[in-house]
């Protein structure tokens, strides 16, 4: 059995979990077994619909104590479920929660962990998972040698496959251990596309000269339904919040489309974005190193070019 941890936020299953479910279902098929999901806490969605992503079953542990993320409680519950259903492969999204739970679970179950996986396991010679290393500059093929195996899957690395199907939903009762970490405050960003999961990202650099000029970035992002990001000097200068910083020491992302405006493309920045499927670079310096990593480029003044792109996008989309 392959068990997929389905992340929920505010009672809704996250997009990255649809990817993890589709990935897990394919891993199960390749191993000749079936895939099940597990959801912790209260969810307001029809979980049987997760069958569309290939899950035969969804286990729920509907306990309010699990509504807030707690790595110890989550690890405990998932470990119990793994034992109950004899799961041999466990899939997480390699996101903030996955990074908290997967290592703990790895030790608890003596299960080898590959975090940041970007492809299905190669079963031709053992169980080898391709993962990102060197901050996106290379890949490692990692063999998991333990009986139980844990994979945490990078966002946008595996496309969610939506088909037909209904999953059987079964409630599990698991005792929840007393939390040692007390949650005092939860501040969720509402109304914005989460950067790590975004399919389109519009990003600005020092070339924009100051935070007052960010309107051209946010307008284009809005027209595209994109998330916004920035380079390190921009977040270091507090022009934009730290969580928007993408690059080697910021967030590594892999959207379908990354549009870099006024970013020269230092190697540290490229490390965080070079897994993007399509890269567009807009820069007035034709020698900017970013053009070498780009699919499309415009050499020109961002303040003139970008608003025109925004207009063209709006026209195309009829908005």
């Amino acid at each position: 059995m392959v068990l997929i941890f389905l992340d929920q936020s505010e009672g809704k299953i996250k997009k990255s979990s649809f990817e993890a479910a589709s990935y897990g279902a394919q891993v199960a098929e390749n191993l000749g077994t079936s895939a099940a999901g597990i959801v912790l806490g209260t969810v307001n969605e029809e979980l049987a619909d997760m069958g569309k992503y290939g899950l035969k079953k969804v286990y729920t542990v509907n306990n309010e104590a699990l509504n807030n993320y707690d790595d110890e409680a989550y690890t405990h519950v998932i470990a119990e479920a793994v034992k109950n259903i004899d799961a041999k492969v466990i899939i997480f999204s390699n996101n903030f929660n996955g990074k908290g739970i997967a290592p703990r679970l790895s030790v608890r179950l003596k299960a080898g962990l590959v975090s940041g996986a970007i492809a299905l396991p190669d079963l031709s010679n053992g169980f080898v998972v391709k993962k990102n290393v060197f901050s996106g500059k290379a890949f490692a093929n990692v063999s998991i040698k333990t009986d139980i195996k844990i994979i945490s899957l990078n966002a946008n690395a595996y496309k969610a496959k939506e088909g037909e199907g209904t999953a059987e939903v079964e409630a599990l009762t698991v005792e929840i251990p007393q939390a040692r970490v007390k949650v005092k405050e939860v501040n969720k960003v509402v109304g914005e596309v989460p950067l790590a999961e975004a399919e389109i990202v519009v990003s600005g650099g020092r070339g924009l000269k100051g935070p007052e000029n960010w309107g051209i970035v946010t307008d284009l992002a809005k027209a595209l339904g994109a998330a916004t990001a920035c380079s390190r000097p921009v977040s270091d200068s507090d022009w934009r919040p730290h969580h928007e910083h993408v690059g080697q020491t910021g967030l590594a992302i892999a959207p379908n489309l990354y549009i870099a405006i006024g970013i020269s493309g230092a190697i540290q920045h490229l490390a965080g974005v070079n897994r993007s499927k399509t890269i567009v670079v807009i820069n007035k310096d034709p020698e900017a190193p970013f053009f070498k990593a780009a699919d499309y480029g415009i050499v020109g003044d961002a303040f003139e070019v970008v608003p025109k792109i925004t207009e063209a996008v709006k026209k195309l989309k009829g908005i």
Partner: protein, 247 residues
Amino acid sequence: MKILVCISKTPDTTAKIAFTDNNTKFAEAGIQFILNPYDEWYALVRAIELKEADPATVLHLINVGGADSDPIIRKALALGGDEAFRVNTNSQDGFYIASQIAEIAKQNNYDLIFTGKETIDYNGSSIGGMVAELLDLPYISLATKFTLDGTTCTVTREIEGGEEVDEVNLPLVVSCQKGMAEQRIPNMRGIMGARTKPLKVSEPVAAETFTSIESFDLPPAKAGVKLIPADQPEELVRLLHEEAKVF
């Protein structure tokens, strides 16, 4: 109070990544190695700040690595550690490394263990959580702020879709990222002092390895950029829509 900071040696952020031995080994020739930025800028500096606020604090460093880690350990000592441990092994398996750290931690009863959020080479993000589980301690991953009042810690961490403020008692393990502290540069007094600070080398304890790296690959080269004239931005939008099909 006793603090342990876990530090790693990584290639410099500008290093060109290549492999040798039939793509099974990282090509180290000509590479400059540095203290992993997350370990240095955030974990270590925040620990130094805590020591500055309470000079009775003992600040230890641990590195799991070969003798070629010694320069980065000395740098960390120059920044402000009191004493360092190096467990002499080049293992790349997270569980094996975490087991070595947990062993040293058990001998010294730390109140606080800091790690960086990940290393910039392996990008595993797993040592902190593994150490916490091995020591049966609470774990705060991806912390952006840490304050201490007596034995109560208030920590802000990044969670899915936002942030969370937690309260937790010592002892615990924290993985640190941007926001925790600001990068510092070691001063001459620190560099001179670091030479005489203890760096204790020990051999690894027996532990399992769960994973092994079979080989490395480099991403395929890009086909080359297609330049669009600056006065035809609608052509870019058309290409993105019809050729790249990204929206």
